[in-house]
Amino acid sequence: MPDHKKVFQDYYSGLLVSACDPKLEIGLARSVKAYRERRSKTLKRFPKTIELAKEVRLIKEESANRREELVKIAKENLESNGAKVHLAKTADDALKIIDGIVGTGKVLVSAKTLTGEEVELREHLESRGNEVWETDIGQFIQQLRKEKPMHYVLPSLHVSREEVAGLLTKFFGKEIEPDIATEVRTIREFLREKYFKADFGLSGGNVVAADTGTIVLIENEGNIRMSTNVPPVHIALIGIDKIVPTFEDAIKVAEVTWRYAGFAIPFYLNLISAPSGTADIENTLVYGSSGPLELHVIFLDNGRSALAKDPVLKEATYCIKCGGCLLECPVFQLTAGNYGGRSYFGGVGTILSAYVADGMSAAAGIAYSCARCGRCVEECPLSIDAPGLIAELRHRILKNEQVKT
């Protein structure tokens, strides 16, 4: 049983330490500035995204109401496409399923996955004697720093180029200049050989279309293409809140996600519905062509279906994790992802921390650090009412509602 008071105190200490960290301030200020410029340019160039966001809100509302049905449809379609689909009720279930697929002593490359962070997947796999490499540049930096991600899209947004240079110099044992291009090139060279050594590629999913069983993955770096395509087996761990009814819906959700994350056009958009396959010989389909031989999809519940049924808090499951809210949040601007739980941040993320990732004890401190100022609602493409959700969560905390301990 957690010592609730200590959990609260530790959270506050962490929050204050980060708020008073001048290095974090530099990194974060640069990231916020760049984000503001990029996002405002993006929405000017694609003004229809703002209208599309309203449609996405309706798609997510419908999806929450049809949660169980959509999981079933997505599973059937992915299976008929040739994928293996696993349903995990809890984080432990998900880890057991993955253990069953991976075993021990393997090499894995991981595209950034928040759901993986939620179940502490990398740490778990490493503890079982596997070698796991994060391939997203930001997440790789966080792996070296032994820190959780600090933002959904930009996991190391609080780390300045100078700090990255120091980190890489230490890791590679040679002097790396504090030049962003040099830093990225250095990481690239290191990671490229890992893709070809890896037995498994891990990913999450930004959104899933139930009617086609298509996983949509948005990226710029190319690491998701590499992680999901080069290793012989691709394992996708995806929260069931990511499933929407149709392929068209999924593309709309994806488009709004990348735009509000501040990207006009993602460099790559991955659509994965099956392991690789070919019917080139006698027009007879066999799986395992140039890409993966197997695709395992694990749909994780971990509190999501209960949350989707909650009359008030279900709004939190609409979140598409574009991270736009975070960069304008006055608390986040001082503390980065320290304002949040293991994998979900800010006001809406607090609800997900409480009911999905971290449990009520951890969420209590986070809930009281929200200013309920509503700045995030202005930035949220789905206008999720974080101040309202936080008031409700505080009410539940006072009622001692505990879903996980």
């Binding site: 049983m1 609260f8 204050l16 608390v331 009281y368 200013a371 505080r394 009410h395 001692n400």
Partner: protein, 337 residues
């Protein structure tokens, strides 16, 4: 079985004081209504100026935050809470006594703002009454999740308003305007009063009367939109219309204004006082960046937190309530005519 989740003790002080004394700081009725002394405002009427005791208790909250802050964070921080709870444990009655003296000068400052708010309405020929045993709106109960407490408290507020024969509320503060308009309908039956934020009353009257105000010397100000007014209630034009009606006053907007306004930090003050101050410090730097000599506020908590933040972070900008400026402009105008 689950052990009790931890919640910050200061919140419980707010909750129990409101339930037992009608306001979070356990102020006596005469302390809440002393601003009205000698103004000859009727105690019954269809339109009331509702203060919610917020300005009146601001100095007390500031003192409390000061105490929380002086106690070093970590163990000391939390034991300070505990100590305070022990002192205030007996129904919180002693709070005012304990912090009253510390807050002397500030207390006057905030009382004066309420007084000027009333005098301004009078000068603009707006009829209104007030309630000398006014209850707090309960906004902090909602804020901190005391929904059951709010439900009970709201009933008392509604019956008090009905007893006073009110049908229209001029809500002096954004918190009370917001909770009346948006939250009360969900928590209590029979809340059928018209709620007009104070600044809207001013804007409306100035527009209709065509009255011109002016300052005796030119002044440049910036405006800090309060979150609860600008975002929750979408009221952003009215404060600007009021300022536009004042000659010799120039408004320099911050980059983050209207619905994009930034938190003053006050909401975190009773749980995370240091964080609150850091948020406030960022905002005062933005406000000072406009080059204005003063930043105008419309909410007592914004006023207190930004003032504190400006002082501790040595930012050179005066924090002034919009009411002070309007009152001054009315005075200056009268002096000239």
């Amino acid at each position: 079985m689950c052990s009790k989740l931890y919640t910050p003790p200061a919140l419980d002080v707010i909750h129990s004081n409101t339930a037992r004394h009608g306001n979070p700081m356990a102020l006596a009725h005469k302390e809440c209504s002393s601003w009205a002394a000698g103004l000859e405002i009727p105690k019954k009427g269809k339109t009331i100026l509702y203060t919610g005791c917020e300005y009146q208790m601001t100095a007390y909250i500031s003192s409390m935050v000061g105490v929380l802050k002086v106690a070093k964070f970590q163990d000391g921080f939390f034991s300070a809470y505990k100590g305070m709870q022990a002192v205030t444990g007996k129904l919180g009655i002693d709070l005012a006594k304990i912090y009253g003296q510390v807050a002397g000068a500030d207390k006057k400052l905030y009382e004066d703002i309420v007084r000027k708010a009333a005098l301004t309405l009078k000068k603009l020929d707006i009829d209104f009454a007030y309630m000398d045993r006014e209850l707090y709106s309960g906004a902090l109960l909602y804020e901190y999740g005391y929904f059951d407490g709010l439900r009970e408290h709201a009933k008392k507020v509604v019956s008090q308003l009905k007893d006073a024969g009110v049908n229209r509320i001029i809500a002096l503060t954004p918190h009370s305007a917001e909770i009346f308009r948006k939250i009360y309908p969900k928590f209590v039956t029979g809340f059928d009063f018209e709620v007009v934020p104070y600044v809207c009353t001013l804007a409306d009257r100035l527009k209709k009367s065509g009255r011109e105000l002016s300052l005796h010397r030119p002044m440049t100000v910036t405006l800090h939109d309060p979150c609860h007014l600008a975002r929750s209630l979408k009221i952003t034009d009215e404060p600007r219309e009021v300022l536009k009606a004042i000659k010799n006053l120039e408004l320099k907007e911050t980059e983050f204004n209207r619905e994009k306004t930034v938190c003053c930090g006050a909401p975190c003050e009773l749980v995370y006082p240091e964080l609150s101050e850091l948020i406030g410090a960022r905002r005062v730097r933005e406000l000072a960046g406009t080059g204005a000599e003063a930043a105008l506020t419309l909410c007592p908590f914004c006023h207190a937190n930004l003032s504190r933040a400006a002082a501790v972070s040595h930012v050179d900008i005066k924090i002034v309530d919009l009411i002070d400026i309007v009152y001054l402009a009315l005075e200056d105008n009268n002096a000239r005519s």
